[in-house]
């Protein structure tokens, strides 16, 4: 549904060099620290930023070739942008109705009520979380086939986050859909994404299915002596610690079987990110 191939965008002091793919039926996550290039990747995919080189395809077309009909099949949430703050939700309804043939007006109004979004209040008076909720509700209100969601859970409390992810899960129950999502709360992605791309300094440094990431990847903790005799064939990154070394592996089972004395942790996505970024090869 969406493919970025060797997409490069050069800024002063930053270069995006990114390849990723979002397949039909998949929820694909993009994780990385602030300034890693997540938003630039999203904007490049949407044609809001022009790539210097590489290929971008959404529904098999370049972003600039997308017709209004194609854009109707995309729902978007952007981290740093949204509906004009001078409009109210009530103002948006006729606009969305006109823009999207598949706009489900009644359901949208109902969901706004459920998420406590006032219809008559100007959007600029909404909190960050309320603005996010509104964007997500708008994105899923018109039978889109592809959702491109940059930090959709930012500013939300735990309950609202859970409700919103529930809505997205519900959205994915219909066949032929896909989601590309980024979040700085990796816990959101762990339980939601089918595969995860990790981006740092504009480059994709890891791509793995979430199940594999959680089952095969692990953090080994050991003393300097243990580290010196360790078979490092399956060590992706290592880092010096006060107690000795932390090592990231994608073959946890190998070390569990051959080095039973080592402390081996499952490793959350946050820890994997930290090791991938801060650890040495």
């Amino acid at each position: 549904m969406l493919r970025l191939e060797n997409v490069k965008k050069q800024y002063k002091g930053f270069c995006l060099d990114c390849s990723l793919e979002v397949k039909e039926g998949f929820v694909t996550g993009l994780v990385g620290k602030n300034g890693a290039g997540k938003s630039t990747a999203f904007k490049t995919a949407l044609g809001l930023v022009y790539a210097d080189s590489g290929h971008i395809r959404i529904f098999g077309k370049e972003p600039k070739e997308l017709s209004s009909g194609d854009k109707e099949k995309i729902g978007v949430v952007l981290a740093d942008s949204g509906f004009s703050g001078y409009l109210t939700v009530k103002n948006l309804i006729p606009m969305l109705d006109r823009l999207y043939g598949g706009f489900k007006k009644e359901e949208f109004i109902q969901k706004c009520g459920e998420f406590e979004l006032p219809l008559d209040k100007k959007i600029k008076e909404f909190s960050t979380g309320m603005k996010r909720k509104l964007q997500v509700l708008a994105a899923i209100s018109h039978e889109a086939e592809l959702l491109i969601l940059d930090e959709p859970t930012a500013g939300l409390d735990v309950v609202a986050r859970d409700e919103l992810l529930g809505l997205l899960r519900e959205y994915m129950e219909t066949e032929g859909r896909a989601i590309l999502i980024s979040s700085h709360i990796s816990g959101d992605l762990e339980g939601f994404c089918d595969d995860i791309y990790m981006i740092d300094g504009g480059r994709i440094i890891l791509h793995e299915e979430t199940d594999v990431l959680l089952s095969n990847y692990g953090l080994l903790k050991m003393t300097p002596e243990q580290y010196s005799v360790l078979d490092k064939s399956y060590i992706l990154r290592h880092k010096k610690e006060e107690f000795g070394y932390s090592c990231l592996t994608d073959q946890k089972q190998f070390y569990q079987e051959n080095y039973p004395e080592l402390v081996i942790e499952r490793g959350s996505i946050d820890e994997l990110i930290m090791m991938m970024i801060r650890g040495e090869k």
Partner: protein
């Protein structure tokens, strides 16, 4: 495009105080100053400037970026702004004319039909030029920087007119005679000529605005 027009009309609905103030000004200029022409021109140009306001609102907190992810092409966005500008200005022209004529009638000010026609044509030409100059600048520089840019363009325009006047004087051309010939002896041709030129300037401005927005990154 209709969706964008709906959005802009809704954005203007939040400007009730501005419209109330304009209404009072029409009454004031017509009744106190006995100057219906000024009232109509002022209000029409103010309505043309509202187009810029809607662009500022679109740009508020980087909103334009999100707007362009909706099923609206950049070309459609620009076209809608020109269309909205013309529609808003013409609404201003009609509205201010009605209020002004009513106020003039009550105050027993003589306001001939010919004078209104001349005012309306002048307003349409002026608002076309205002839209043509300000729209691409606003799209290029955003709401903050565009104020200085618009000021610069009008300053340059004034300097250019001054230089042309001086050059004509140096070449022995009597500008007053030329203007008299154009607006008294050949009025119909001149008005049509100016209208065609205004339309051409608007078309060029639209083309530049589309290019500006198509090149813009967010």
């Amino acid at each position: 495009m209709k969706a964008m027009l709906i959005k802009d009309v809704n954005l203007l609905k939040g400007q009730k105080q501005f419209f109330g103030m304009l209404f009072l000004m029409i009454i004031m200029f017509t009744v106190i100053q006995s100057d219906p022409t000024f009232s109509i021109c002022y209000v029409t140009l103010m309505f043309a400037i509202l187009t810029l306001t809607t662009m500022s609102y679109d740009d508020y907190e980087n909103g334009m970026c999100y707007l362009l992810t909706l099923p609206v092409s950049r070309r459609e966005y620009v076209t809608e702004k020109y269309l909205f500008g013309m529609l808003a200005s013409l609404s201003g022209l009609v509205g201010s004319s009605l209020v002004t004529v009513a106020a003039a009638y009550i105050k027993r000010i003589v306001y001939p039909w010919e004078e209104w026609t001349a005012t309306a044509i002048s307003c349409i030409i002026l608002l076309s030029l205002a839209l043509a100059v300000t729209t691409p600048i606003q799209l290029k520089f955003g709401s903050e920087k565009s104020r200085m840019a618009v000021f610069g363009v009008f300053a340059l325009g004034s300097v250019a007119v001054f230089i042309i006047a001086k050059l004509c004087q140096a070449a022995g051309i009597d500008i007053n005679a030329v203007l008299e010939s154009a607006f008294v002896e050949n009025l119909t041709t001149t008005v049509w000529g100016i209208c065609v030129m205004a339309a051409a300037v608007l078309a060029v401005s639209w083309w530049i605005s589309v290019r500006v927005l198509e090149k813009r990154e967010f």
